[in-house]
């Protein structure tokens, strides 16, 4: 395991870089996915259509294609920024479609009467979603949302390889290609890095699930 132990500082910076991609993508995809899910159950037909179109388009497109669209499409329309931002934006957009659908399953699991009672006391659609439906929908959607986000953590490697660089996956590439170190130990180090993130997330999910569980 010398190749790993000798390059711990590089691994560590890659680990932090991956964490930052994951952190921003988690935040962005949850926010965007929640808005999209609200669109999909909105009383406004055009919003529903927009949400459905977004999910259909994005969910059925490979992540690499979405990333290409970000990196080469956005500059065409005058948006020029770093690969880091392009990469995170692509991952946010891609993941948002899955968050939307996982959350929608949670929304569908909330009894209709809850929303009716909320509307009956005069809450608007947005208030009904924020105060009554979404808090309950999140609770029943914790397991599928967890799966979606753990998939996203691993997809961050694709984003890293795509040109963002310096993340955990790219560290592996650097060590093997540029420095010619052996693949198996280097990649084992990379894998351990991802496992630290995903296994921790799994434990956190269990905690969240128990915390938000409500008696019905």
């Amino acid at each position: 395991m010398d190749p790993v132990l000798d390059n711990l500082d590089l691994y560590w910076s890659g680990f932090l870089r991956s964490l930052s991609i994951i952190g921003w993508s988690l935040l962005g995809s949850m926010l965007l996915g929640t808005v999209l899910a609200a669109f999909r159950v909105s009383p406004v037909a055009s919003l529903r259509a927009f949400g459905a179109a977004w999910v259909t388009l994005v969910r059925n497109c490979p992540l690499t294609i979405v990333l290409f669209f970000m990196a080469f499409g956005l500059p065409e329309v005058g948006v020029n920024t770093s690969y880091y931002v392009f990469g995170i934006s692509g991952l946010v957009i891609y993941t948002s479609a899955f968050v939307c659908e996982a959350l929608r399953s949670g929304i569908n699991a909330v009894d209709r009467g809850q929303a009716e009672a909320a509307r009956a006391i005069g809450l608007t659609f947005t208030q009904t979603m924020r105060q009554v439906v979404l808090p309950q929908a999140f609770r029943s959607a914790v397991p599928p949302l967890g799966s979606v986000q753990i998939a996203m953590f691993k997809n961050s490697a694709v984003v890293g390889a795509f040109g963002v660089g310096a993340d955990l996956f790219s560290v592996g590439e650097t060590l093997t290609s540029a420095r010619g170190l052996e693949y198996i130990p280097v990649l084992t180090g990379v894998a351990i890095g991802y496992l630290v993130i995903t296994l921790t997330a799994g434990v956190l999910l269990g905690v969240i699930e128990r915390k938000v569980a409500i008696a019905r």
Binding site: P43, D111, G113, Q114, E116, A117, A118, R119, A120, I121, G122, L123, T124, Q127, Q131, V132, P135, Q136, R139, I214, A215, R216
Partner: protein, 270 residues
């Protein structure tokens, strides 16, 4: 006068303004005019004309599938209608949006299945509307919610969650939640149908006291005892149409239509 239906909550006193014969005022509050509704092929409301006066208690009865719940839900537009008009206090019901939300705040609704917000405490259930819709300060809303909960006899349960309460307690909380909005009219959609028999009376007691205090009420129910004692008027529906309207005395002792005679014959048999 215009706020008389609300004053009881604030003052806690008997601010009844019903006429000597107890029939409510002659001021129309809810007016349904030639209302029709279809569920696909099914004609669930047929040319409904109904006027509910301020302070009046109207009990809607009829066999299941007669459209009485739909009628009740149409009044705050939880069910949109296909033809005709419904006005509340002279204002026609708005389409979806902020205006409709504002109108719904004026109409209290109590559901068969209580529908208390499962993730909120009893107190939060009652304060949500006043805080979010009326913009009331949280402390004020909590104080009043406490008073209302005391009134319906569940004040000591304020910190619990709905699932920790019995059905009867939950339904009384639901009534308090609706009252917290100081509604002009209260709609009750089979409020006791999901309750165990021994809990029905605790809910009906609250409703009777509301009626006595002059609240305008539309009550869809199978509780004939409540209809007899608390109603100013009984509306009998069958197959989506209003078949008969009468005082409870007239209706239960001398129903005019065959449909009503048949219905009463069946339910009073046992």
């Amino acid at each position: 006068m215009a706020r008389a239906g609300r004053m009881w909550i604030v003052s806690g006193g008997m601010t009844t303004h019903r006429t000597a014969e107890g029939g409510g005022s002659d001021e129309p509050l809810v007016v349904l005019d030639h209302v029709d509704k279809w569920f696909g092929e099914l004609h669930v409301l047929r040319d409904i004309d109904l006027t509910i006066h301020r302070g009046e208690v109207v009990v809607v009865i009829g066999p299941s599938g007669s459209g009485k719940s739909t009628l009740c839900r149409a009044i705050n537009r939880l069910e949109p209608i296909d033809k005709g008009t419904i006005t509340l206090d002279g204002e026609p019901l708005p389409e979806e949006g902020k205006a409709l939300a504002a109108l719904r705040a004026e109409v209290g609704m109590v559901f068969q299945s209580f529908n208390l917000f499962a993730h909120k405490t009893i107190l939060e259930n009652v304060t949500l509307g006043p805080v979010k819709v009326r913009g009331m300060k949280k402390a004020d809303a909590e104080k009043r919610a406490g008073e209302l909960l005391d009134r319906v006899g569940v004040g000591h349960q304020a910190a619990k969650y709905p699932a920790q309460l019995s059905g009867g307690q939950q339904q009384r909380v639901a009534i308090a939640r609706a009252l917290a909005m100081e509604p002009k009219v209260m709609l009750f959609d089979e409020p006791t149908s999901a309750l165990d028999p021994e809990m029905i009376s605790e809910v009906l007691d609250v409703m009777v006291s509301l009626a006595e205090q002059g609240m305008t009420m539309v009550v869809v129910t199978h509780e004939m005892g409540f209809a007899r004692t608390a109603a100013d008027r009984v509306v009998f529906m069958a197959d989506g149409a209003i078949v008969e309207e009468a005082t409870p005395e007239q209706f239960f002792t001398n129903p005019q239509s065959d449909r009503a005679k048949d219905f009463l014959g069946k339910i009073l048999q046992h």
